[in-house]
Amino acid sequence: MEELHKNNYGFSLPDDYDFNTSEILNRIEIEKEVSAFPLLNQIRKESKKAFLIPDTFFPEIMELSFLEKITNGKEVRKNAKIFSVSGFFRKAAVIFFAVIFSMLIYYILKDHTKKNINSVYMNGGKDTCLTLACIEKEELVKELFYEISDEEIDNYH
């Protein structure tokens, strides 16, 4: 009988059960505070139920793939941080690269145009294209070029 009493007549508590008195007292305090406002008090329980979540939401986020996504996110951000610089330096870097890129494009195009002109007017384009269509096109361009009067050329700056 004494043994039974010690074990609460067969009833027991989980090992990690904790009487969280401060949590219970906090809830009582909230009830008291809210009860002073009848409408807020009345709709409190319903308010919590008004917002729903898809049934699959929590099971899905506990899947390994979601956790991997998070940890991968860390890796991505870690790497990205290496290049992370302040706003001023970021702007300066953008301007610098824009200038370099424009200069590069300018010189490539200039060189390419020069080569084309040389190819058409000096070598007759024979270096680059020898098909019948190309030769006809070059002849046509040449004719148009010779039709321009000297006066027109002088006026063109």
Binding site: S22, E23, I30, F37, L39, E46, F51, K69, T71, R77
Partner: protein, 188 residues
């Protein structure tokens, strides 16, 4: 107040923040509380789901910075709150007000398939949205999440006395708005 499980998790974070199982345990213990903290602020499930992911990444990224000075719960809750508020700022809906002065909360919630509140619930959400940001957070933490003043104080850095006053003022304002809404519903 931390329970045994939370205290153990805290120890593990402080000793080895790179342990990959930590994140699994954080998710298991706090996922619902984190989600609801976010959802109360951003209101719509789709947004809450995005912010939830961002929050988890931020927690994982900053585990090494956690020094154990505050409880793990408040540290996580603060990150979740900041992410949710930042999301609202990005979307430019800090006050949920349309340029013409009308609130868009009703539209947002009516378009959310995961909101099943009636008209008085919509009125409640509109009234909450009209509160200043800090008062809104205090109200949500206390009324919905049932946090203690001690926890809210740790989260917001405000004294418990000021929080009590803030919660009371928020409830007064909302109760008045609800009375008006209930009157309108009754007349219709």
């Amino acid at each position: 107040v931390e329970n045994k499980e939370e205290a153990e998790l805290k120890k593990r974070i402080l000793s080895n923040p790179d342990d990959p199982d930590i994140m699994k345990d954080i998710m298991r213990i706090y996922r619902e509380r984190i989600y609801w903290c976010i959802r109360r602020i951003v209101l719509v499930h789709e947004d809450a789901s995005d912010v939830f992911q961002e929050t988890m990444i931020k927690i994982w990224k900053n585990l090494g910075k956690y020094k154990g000075e505050s409880t793990l719960f408040t540290w996580i809750y603060r990150i979740a709150t900041n992410e949710a508020l930042q999301h609202l700022r990005k979307k430019d809906i800090q006050t949920f007000e349309n340029p013409d002065g009308t609130l868009s909360v009703k539209d947002m919630l009516n378009n959310d398939p995961y909101f099943h509140g009636n008209r008085i619930q919509l009125a409640l959400q509109e009234a909450i949205a009209r509160l200043p940001e800090k008062q809104r957070l205090v109200f949500q933490y206390r009324y919905f999440d049932e946090l203690s003043y001690e926890q809210i104080s740790e989260l917001t850095g405000t004294s418990q006395g000021a929080l009590k006053a803030s919660f009371h003022h928020a409830m007064e304002k909302i109760e008045n708005e609800l009375k008006k809404a209930a009157h309108d519903i009754f007349i219709q």
